[in-house]
């Protein structure tokens, strides 16, 4: 489907204040305003650069994996149970935030907020499990000071965890704005970019689960 854009009078770049065509009919609210749609494109670029951050961390993890020094190896340290539970939390939260966006497109603000809150609870559950796992590891004497392998493990996984934490705080801010201002082109765009961010974190986690936790069982 191509957009009904590009009439001779409608300027493609933003900001003709007196143009009634500023908001477009027939496209979702978050794309209806040119400026907000630019921010969505921009947010994709944020994800692009973030992907490379994680790629660098994965490269370090892969290179440091044999460097266990006097500490435990991945096969000795990692249990699959907790990792599978964390995966289920995040996969489910990815689904719930997808439903939230689906409700947003139907204009159902209450349901959207409900599903976002559910997403955040699942995200908080994930974080709790991860922190518990870290605490157990550290109590067993496996901290990020123990070996280069563990340094790279903790940096990779906690960078993802920090992203999840940031996402939760960010989404709380967005929910507050939606409650105060309702759904408009700006708040809808914010929910949409948050959903992109959250799905992206899910992708990263799937690779962490595969490389770190399943990888430890393969080796």
């Amino acid at each position: 489907m191509s957009l009904p854009l590009g009439t001779s009078e409608e300027p493609l770049p933003i900001r003709f204040a007196d143009e009634p065509a500023h908001h477009l009919a027939g496209v979702p609210l978050e794309f209806a305003d040119e400026e907000q749609s630019l921010k969505i494109t921009g947010f994709w670029m944020v994800l692009v650069t973030d992907l490379l951050i994680f790629a660098s961390l994965f490269a370090s993890y892969a290179v440091y994996r044999p460097m266990v020094a006097a500490g435990p190896s991945g096969a000795q340290l990692f249990g699959l149970g907790s990792a599978i539970a964390e995966t289920l939390f995040l996969l489910t939260s990815s689904f719930t935030v997808g439903i939230a966006v689906w409700y947003m497109r139907r204009g159902n603000q209450r349901a959207m907020i409900g599903w976002i809150v559910l997403t955040l609870l699942l995200g908080a559950g994930f974080l709790g499990l991860e922190l518990h796992e870290f605490a157990v590891d550290i109590a067993r004497g496996a901290s990020w000071q123990t070996s280069a392998f563990l340094s790279s493990f903790f940096l990779l996984v906690s960078t993802h965890g920090a992203h999840v934490l940031f996402g939760i705080l960010w989404a709380v801010g967005i929910v507050v704005q939606v409650l105060r201002r309702g759904l408009n082109a700006v708040t809808a765009r914010k929910v949409y970019t948050f959903s992109l961010y959250w799905h992206f974190l899910d992708i990263i986690w799937v690779f962490i689960f595969t490389v770190v936790y399943l990888g430890a069982k393969i080796a």
Binding site: F31, T49, T210
Partner: protein, 124 residues
Amino acid sequence: MRAELQTPDPSRSTETEAGFEFLNPHFAPERFPWPQVWGYGGSLLLTGAAVYLVLLHVLPAAGLGALVLALAGGQALLQLGVFMHIRESRGPAWQILPLGLSFVIAFALVGMSIWIMTFKWGAS
């Protein structure tokens, strides 16, 4: 002012970029969220399959690793397609190109770093 300055030829508009028609935007339909449901089910299935394959050690390590990584790649495509609506945009969905390139470079970065740094593994 000249007529050609005032009325752009629609085919020359930046909205459809010649040679980049595959980036023309596509919006997800608004029916019952079946795609999301299938996507969720698919992601659970792919994760379950990966865990199952690893626990059973169906293949030698190298092949198993590659297979599990391929499943993870499938999950990424599923998230991008079903949940992230990667083809949505106003005007061409430009994000597809940098994102595609970033996946290529990410895998090259990891693979080639391992290749370059293996010299040390023997030494340690």
